[in-house]
Amino acid sequence: MTALSRREMLRASLLSGAGLFVAFHIPRKARAAAQPPAKPLPDPNAFVRVAPDGSVTVLLAHSEMGQGIWTGLAMLIAEELDCNWSKIRVEHAPASPVYAHPAFGIQMTGGSTTTWSEFDRYRQAGAMARAMLVRAAAAQWKTDPKKLRTENGFVLRGSDKLSYGELAVAAQAQTPPKSVKLKDRKEWKIIGKPTRRLDSPEKITGKAQFGMDVRLPGVRTALVARSPVFGGKVKSFDASKAKGVKGVEQVVQVPSGVAVVASNFWSAKLGRDALTVDWDPGPGATLDSAALVKSYRETARTKGTVAAEKGDAETALSKASKRVVAEYDVPYLAHATMEPLNATVKLEGDRCEIWTGTQFQTMDQLTAGRIAGIPPQNVSIHTQFLGGGFGRRATPSSDFVAEAVQVAKAAGVPVKVMWTREDDIQGGFYRPLFLHRIEAGLDDKGLPSAWKHTIVGQSILTGTPFEKMMVKNGIDETSIEGIVDSPYFETVPARLVTVHSPRSPVTVLWWRSVGNTHTAFAMESMIDELAWAAGRDPLEFRTAMLADHPRHRRALQTAAEKAGWGKPPPAGRARGLAVHESFGSIIAEVAEVSVDDQKEIHVHKVSCAVDCGTALNPLGIEAQVQGAVAFGLSAVLHSELTLKEGRVEQSNFHDYQVLRLPDMPTVTVQIIESDAKMGGIGEPATAPISAAVANAVYALTKKRLRSLPLRFA
């Protein structure tokens, strides 16, 4: 079968629905099973191209949003291809079934899965391309390919050599091998080596093209006036003033609101400002986040749907020698990617072309095709660099892409729909507000004997195409991850976790590290409370509970040692720690904090120890851990969205505040040598930082802060 027909077949299978296996979240215990099944070898031409000029182009099946896969996946190819690293170029692949996620079956980026899921496929593609180059050389030299070796972009026979560039055309004609042997770990020259990013040069000169930077002839700019209240609908609108703004060409209604289409951004913005829309706000008009927390607090005192149960937690609680009860809550949060959302759409006949930064190409194709009334394979997606993703560019409904297609359809011209920062902060798809109520008991040895845990918060996945796969027995996996699979939890003899998933017009979504953003805060805060209640050192207490979890213990001990745990901190400071496993990686963090006389919390140092299995690019891992800690610290110290009378009270970075440079602690990252199965690295370090800081604040002030962002009342 030719490569082309194989691709066609894959495409056909996806579009018929047969290939659409979707499971975005993989529970920890199911991860081993989720290992991609032995698959046929990839079509190397889809992933790597060697050109006659010697350049090696890697096609990226996933989207580069800062996490460093532009470099990481290229390292995998280069490792097996033995090419010259300086000749590597990377491009985003087009949207096509051949680029479907090896574990999830759709083309997408998320869940900190790219590197581990592509570890075999990209190495195989590199090895296959190498084999084809070797065979081309063997044909030219009329020798046995087995007698040849490769190095740094050349095929070698004794002192003879042929460059990959010279062999490129002939190699193309070779049949891809039926099997390849990948290098043994001991032979790796690139994997595991700290490697600088390949996208640096274009990103430091302003040449890198993000979706926002797409400029095409004839494309207009549009801004959409959306309902100020979640779920509101347009009753009527008056566009007469908007149409009077210079540069405004059209004002069209779309399902999400009213779009002002103009020749440039500024005209579209002035036009939208001049628009008058009469909204039917619907039931969202009464939403109030303070009241919501209050009602969640009530709900948490009632039993929800059982997510995990062992023994009789109530009885065990009544028999405990000490009881600790605590409630933890976290607010709605926007992702606030630095690049506001945008999508450029051109509809022509039965074709749709989209230029955007997206994490969800396949969903975008399906959604755009449905709106345009064309088959999804007629939707081309030109993935641009993403100016941050953090989950926001992976909406199951493809919200920002779908809306841009609607605008292009209604206006009858190609458009770039842009969001302002206000649109972004007030536009929903938030990390949901959550409340945890935990009642725990200690036995006479000072170890937890009972644990009753009630979780209240909106389901991210209910009502999306992912519901079938990821909402089981009414429980959204993302609401409980990090609790039911917690290694602490399994040591407690009597335990009960129940979940309430109230519905709300507020749209919610995964936000860097998803459910772990709140479950790690609740779990690791509670463990700390129990350690103090038992009169035990928080490190020693955890170590005792994690007796059967050597990777967790090692991470904790490594981070604690680096932080100087057990030695007195500098005057006016204290340390707190947390360890959490998510996305297949284990991260321990020790935060060193102080509190100033204005009661402001300052985080000075964070020592992190990471066990993510095989470490592909230590330089990239360090950056991701530092970045994830910073991302988490925004939520620990500053960020919060509140609703009053249905309206989001914040609108831009002046009132939705995020971490800035002077807030940034010194974050040390130690990568633990590990041959465990590879885990993710983009998200996991966000999860433990909230508890590490709260625990340090407690150690310093003996005041337990249980709401994010952490504030002294």
């Binding site: 990013r197 430091i204 000169t205 500024w266 630095m338 506001p340 920062r421 910073a630 970075f653 800035r660």
Partner: protein, 153 residues
Amino acid sequence: MKLNVNGTVHEVDAPEDMPLLWVLRDVLGMTGTKFGCGMAQCGACTVHLDGQATRSCVLPVSSVGSRMVTTIEGLSPDGTHPVQKAWAEVDVVQCGYCQPGQIMSAAALLAHHPNPTDAEIDLALAGNICRCGAYQRIREAVRAAATQRRADR
């Protein structure tokens, strides 16, 4: 009106009130300068006006006058400004969207103050948000660029 951008004088046809940012991006097609907030909160739109770091998103183009505008495209012809070199060396970028603004702020700082302390670096770049959280390497890279600039003298 006339606008001097990176040493080239452009005859610009734009409303007087249009922020310089949108003149650069939508009129002149120079997209290296980024839109992040539109209210001088995030620093993604930072350019130099006669060498002074300036947020172009809140600056009406008519108020630029004869001042020289330098954008990321004009900081160096080929990415070899000491700050850009340090950024590559320290491997600062992640998503990269805020980096033109970060780099322009850092370059303006070092032009006025070649030997800043860590605290001075922090304060000078406190107006530039990075959501990926690349702050630690930003700080290291400014330090490295300062060292390099001194060595180059």
